[in-house]
């Protein structure tokens, strides 16, 4: 029996196939998961648009007070984009809350802004701004799962990505900042309706004091 030497072991080609398989398979898996993550992110983006639309519908609908309308929108958002008060997919699309939101305002759930857009505050009675009440939801999306993803994401960190026509830029932090807007306006609630009908009643000299009848008559 010939002696088994190290040199003989090295010249053996029996492991070549498995090494090539591992290399190719890892590349294949990376590519597959790149598309899986992209598809997942895009699907989540569409879903968030739907969620903000539903929340702004809830905000639009009449309630007893404006606080009820606000609470309804918050409830819809909590049920659609959060689970037990936390993000559905924090590893994929974490919410962007606080001062990092595009429009700052009341934040019933992290990443959201419910109410009048800051630009329209104080102009609620103008018909040019009356639509600007609704819901905005902000989240970041990681779209890179390439082998060089960290290097690509960190390149240019801290720079501002300017909009096509100038204006406020987007600080580049290695993630894509997504914002879903749905501003549908807001119907007058029962409180506001009563106030307005009472004012009209008084100003026209009718002077009806039975406010409940205004609502039953669908006065608003």
């Amino acid at each position: 029996m010939p002696p088994l030497t190290i040199a003989k072991k090295k010249s053996d080609e029996s492991g070549q196939v498995i090494i090539e398989f591992v290399i190719v398979f890892s590349m294949l898996i990376t590519t597959i998961f790149l598309f899986v993550q992209m598809a997942w992110g895009i699907a989540w983006g569409h879903y968030v648009h739907y969620a903000t639309f539903m929340a702004s519908r809830a905000y639009l609908s009449a309630g007893a007070t404006q606080a009820d309308q606000f609470a309804s929108a918050g409830t819809v958002l909590r049920q659609t984009v959060k689970v037990h008060g936390k993000d559905y997919f924090p590893f994929l699309a974490p919410s962007r809350g606080g001062g990092e939101r595009d429009a700052t305002g009341t934040e019933p759930v992290k990443g959201a802004m419910v109410g009048t857009h800051p630009e329209a505050i104080g102009k609620e009675h103008s018909r040019l701004y009356s639509w600007a009440e609704g819901v905005q939801y902000n989240f970041n999306l990681k779209l890179f799962l390439l082998p060089m993803s960290k290097m690509i994401a960190s390149d240019g960190a801290g720079k501002n990505i300017m909009p096509p026509g100038g204006g406020k830029g987007i600080p580049w932090k290695g993630v894509i900042p997504f914002t879903s807007d749905s501003f549908l306006g807001r119907e007058p609630n029962v409180d506001e309706c009563l106030q307005e009908m009472t004012r009209l009643s008084t100003s026209t000299g009718i002077n009806r004091g039975d406010n409940d009848n205004f609502v039953e008559d669908n006065g608003c």
Binding site: A103, K159, P163, G165, W172
Partner: protein, 98 residues
């Protein structure tokens, strides 16, 4: 019995292929690192991938048009609700003329 000398060991050809492999690997790795450092220095990835991609996707997702902007960006344009219709035109979605 033959004398085994150090000189004889060096002159042997065993290990030549692995040595050549290591040298070529060093050259290739150096070239790759040089290219990557040049790319990072010139912000190649940021200018060619991140910036155009983010600029397009962000506004396309938010307003349905990569060139549109709203109040959040400071200078609204191509925004169906914010922009006022031209004089003489009264049609606008959701938004009557004041």
């Amino acid at each position: 019995m033959k004398k085994v000398t150090l000189f004889r060991g060096i002159r042997g050809q065993r290990g030549q292929s692995i040595l050549e492999y290591m040298l070529v690997l060093c050259v290739i790795m150096s070239a790759v690192l040089l290219v990557i450092s040049l790319m990072k220095k010139s912000h190649f990835f940021y200018k060619n991938i991140s910036e155009p991609l983010v600029r397009h996707i962000t506004y396309n997702y938010k307003y349905g048009d990569p060139k549109a902007q709203g109040w959040d960006e400071g200078s609204p344009k191509l925004h169906i609700q914010i922009s006022r219709p031209n004089e003489g035109q009264t049609f606008r979605l959701f938004q009557p003329r004041e």
